[in-house]
Structures are given as C-alpha cells and as structure tokens.
Amino acid sequence: MIGPSFEAVLAAAAGGDELAFGILWRDLQPGLLRYLNALAPGAGEDLASETWLRVVGRLDRFAGDERAFRAWVFTVARHRAVDRWRRSTRRSDELVPTGALVHLPAPDDPASSAVDAISSRAAVALIATRPHEQAEVVLLRVVAGLEVAEVAAITGKRPGHVRVLAHRALRRLATRVGQPAHVRGAV
C-alpha cells in the first residue's frame, strides 16, 4: 500500500509522470503476478502486462482512493485471466480449467516446500491447490489486500459466500500443512 501520498501519486501518473507510475507499478505488480500465476499458471506475466496496458489507458478516468484503485486493477486482471481461459477452452462443456484439475501431491509437494521454505511462490502455489473459487478468494484477500466486499464485487459473489469460501480454504490448508510429510506426498 502506498498510503497517504496515493492521491498525489495517482494524479501525477495520470498526468504522465513516469516516476509516479513506477510507484504504482511496484506496489501492485508482485501481487498481480502472484494472483495471475495462480489463476493461469505460466501466463501471469503476459496477463499482468495486458492488465497494465488497460489500466494506463484509463488512468486519467479513474476516481477513488487507494483501496478502490487496487480493487479496480485486480478486477481488470481477473477479466484478462477469464478472457484467456475462455480462449484456451476448446470444449464448451469443459467445466474445469486444465490447470485446476486434480491436484495430486507431487514429490515437490507445495505443501512441504511452503512450510519449510516459506517462499512467496511456494505459499501461493499451496493456496492454488485449493479449488479455484477458494484459491481466488484467499489470494484476493491475502495477496491483493482486499476486503470481503471488494472481493465479492470482483468475483461476482455475495459477501457471505466469499467468507465461507475463505474460511473453508483456511481449514483445508490447515489440514494439508498439518499432515505429516509422508501423508502429504503419498498420493
């Protein structure tokens, strides 16, 4: 988060100030990448670039505080991810994105590496092992730093449903990371 100087930074960026835009970019890009890589593995950077292109084109029309700006940027990012997923879906009756199919623990189980190494990438990968809706809600709450109402608006869900998804994801994460390693990597 940028803090009290956000409005000045945003106004400068909207006026073409590169330094100000750089501040916005550095503040949001890591979270964007983590979120988008979880939604669309391997395509996070491209989607983030598309997101920024759209954001820059509409920067001078945005009005709101920092939270609203973050929510807007992640909304744009989600739309890019959805558009890409729709383009990549070959069968209309395919309900599950390929990347979200059965997450069988692998020898390099993210749960193991996340607990031991606690890198952001491993942590996000572990969260991404949850069903898509749960993972998305947790990432928007944790990585994007958004509140329930904002996440609900972005995902098109009711706030109560967002809370249920997030809490369910946490309980499942606790179950997964709390298991012995041989159980985590057994299947």
Binding site: G22, Q29, P105, I118, S120, L170, R171, L173, Q179
Partner: protein, 269 residues
C-alpha cells in the same frame, strides 16, 4: 455458470484429499479474518493454524526480485501508451483518452493537409512561380526542420514522427503522414519541390529565389535531440520553428514564418 463466474463452482474436494490423520481444527470467523488480514502472528494462532499463518504471511510477503524485473518494460509501455503511438506487436491499441487524442490529431492533420494543398495551388496561381510549400507546411506545423530520411516512410527505419506536435502528432494505423508520402515520393525527408521537378526554383519568405538543394545536401533529420541542418536554412531567411519535444499544438496566430502566398510551389510536396 454465468459470465462473471467463469471458474468452476466449488468442487467437493473431500474425495481428493488423503486420509486425514487428525480432525480439522475449528476456526472461528474472527480468527479467520485476522489470518486473512495478516494480523495474526503464527505464535498467536490457534492450534493447527500456525503453519497456515506462516503460509499466508509468505504469500503476502515482500516482492521478490524477479517480480520487479519487468519494471523497465512497464515504464516503456507507459510512455508508449501516453504518447498514443501506433500499436506495437502483440499489444492492443491504446484506448480511452489516449486513443481519442490520437484520433483527434489524425483528423486535424487531414484537415491541415487539405488546407495546405489548397494554399499550394493558390500560391502557384498568385505567385506565378515555383516556390516551396516548405514554409507553409512548416508554419502549419506539418513539418519540422528535423524531419529527414531514414526516420519514417515506407521502408524507413523507425517511425516518422514530427517533433513539433501540432496536427500530425500521432498516426492512425496504416495512415501515412505527409512526411511519409514525401519520403516515398522523393526518397528523402520532407522537402517540397514545385512542379514535380527535383530541383525547381524556390522563393524564400521575401520572394527572393533560393538556391536549389544540391543532390548531395543532406535533408534535415528527424529526431528529438538533433538540431536542424542548414540545408534549407539561408542567412537572412526566417527559420522554421526549431524541433522540440512534445510541443503543444500551435494556433495559426502563433506560427512564425507564414510566408507569402507567393512562395508556394505547385503540387504538394
């Protein structure tokens, strides 16, 4: 599945999980919210959730070096988007305010070109001689002394973009500028010759003939930081506006060197 909920509904995942060695620890809403907000230290987390707190904190951790590696490209994209240039490969055209400004500039340039063409014809008729449209075009901001070959036009390296912005700043995709058409016709920068001849007589601002350009003379080069060459500049002759970065559009009243109608050449460029 509605348009905003493309991702699949929450799948029952119990059958995918390995056997649980211990029952799930209940989690109250307040603790869950504190975990999600990053306000719960792992040491303060309830049993079974310390690791979850660590995972969530790691997920929200400071940026890694590779996550900020694309900053230069992002800034370059920002500059390009703010200029409203033609679309680069693999990227969409700027939309919104930038796209509107670009379209407005294109429209203004078309109007100015039509006007310049009219003035050229009138000038030839009134002046009775072969002059140059350089002064008029320059006055209208359709060219600058820094335009030159190799900076645009078909086959030219880079993109031809006038340093003085006014009516031709920015190009619509596929729409050649006045300079590009000139470059295509003459194989060099934006200079104009009357009557279709390569070295016609030209009249300066005061109606005096100007020495024609020799084939060896280098035409002015485009570029933001390059000063104008002397090929079209003669002592005593009013110089066209100096090339500058991102100049605002000029009004007719503010343009120097309008020149006289008698200095215009036939044809356009």
């Amino acid at each position: 599945m509605d348009a905003d909920n493309v991702f699949p509904a929450d799948m029952p995942d119990d059958h995918l999980q390995p056997p649980v060695s211990k029952p799930m620890v209940p989690l109250d809403d307040d603790t869950a919210e504190r975990l999600l907000a990053g306000h719960l230290h792992p040491e303060d987390a309830p049993p079974g959730y310390a690791e979850v707190a660590r995972v969530l904190q790691a997920a929200a951790g400071p940026p890694a070096r590779e996550e900020l590696a694309g900053e230069k490209a992002a800034l370059a994209g920002f500059r390009a988007a703010r200029r409203g240039p033609t679309v680069t490969a693999g990227r969409r055209a700027p939309t919104g305010a930038g796209g509107r400004r670009r379209r407005a500039r294109v429209r203004a340039s078309l109007v100015a070109l039509a006007l310049a063409g009219t003035l050229v014809v009138v000038g030839v008729w009134l002046g009775g001689g072969v002059g140059t449209a350089d002064e008029v075009l320059t006055a209208l901001g359709l060219r600058s002394p820094s335009w030159g070959p190799g900076t645009g036009g078909p086959g030219g390296a880079g993109s031809l973009r006038p340093v003085t912005t006014p009516v031709t700043g920015g190009q619509a995709p596929g729409l050649p500028s006045a300079g590009e058409r000139a470059a295509a016709r003459h194989g060099r920068g934006v200079t104009s010759r009357g009557g279709g001849s390569a070295h016609g007589h030209r009249l300066g601002a005061h109606g005096k003939p100007i020495k024609p350009e020799s084939p060896k003379a280098k035409p002015p080069k485009a570029g933001k930081d390059k000063p104008p060459t002397a090929s079209n500049d003669k002592p005593g002759k009013t110089r066209p506006p100096k090339a500058q970065k991102a100049k605002p559009p000029k009004t007719e009243a503010g343009r120097p060197n309008q020149g006289s109608a008698g200095t215009l050449s036939s044809g356009r460029k």
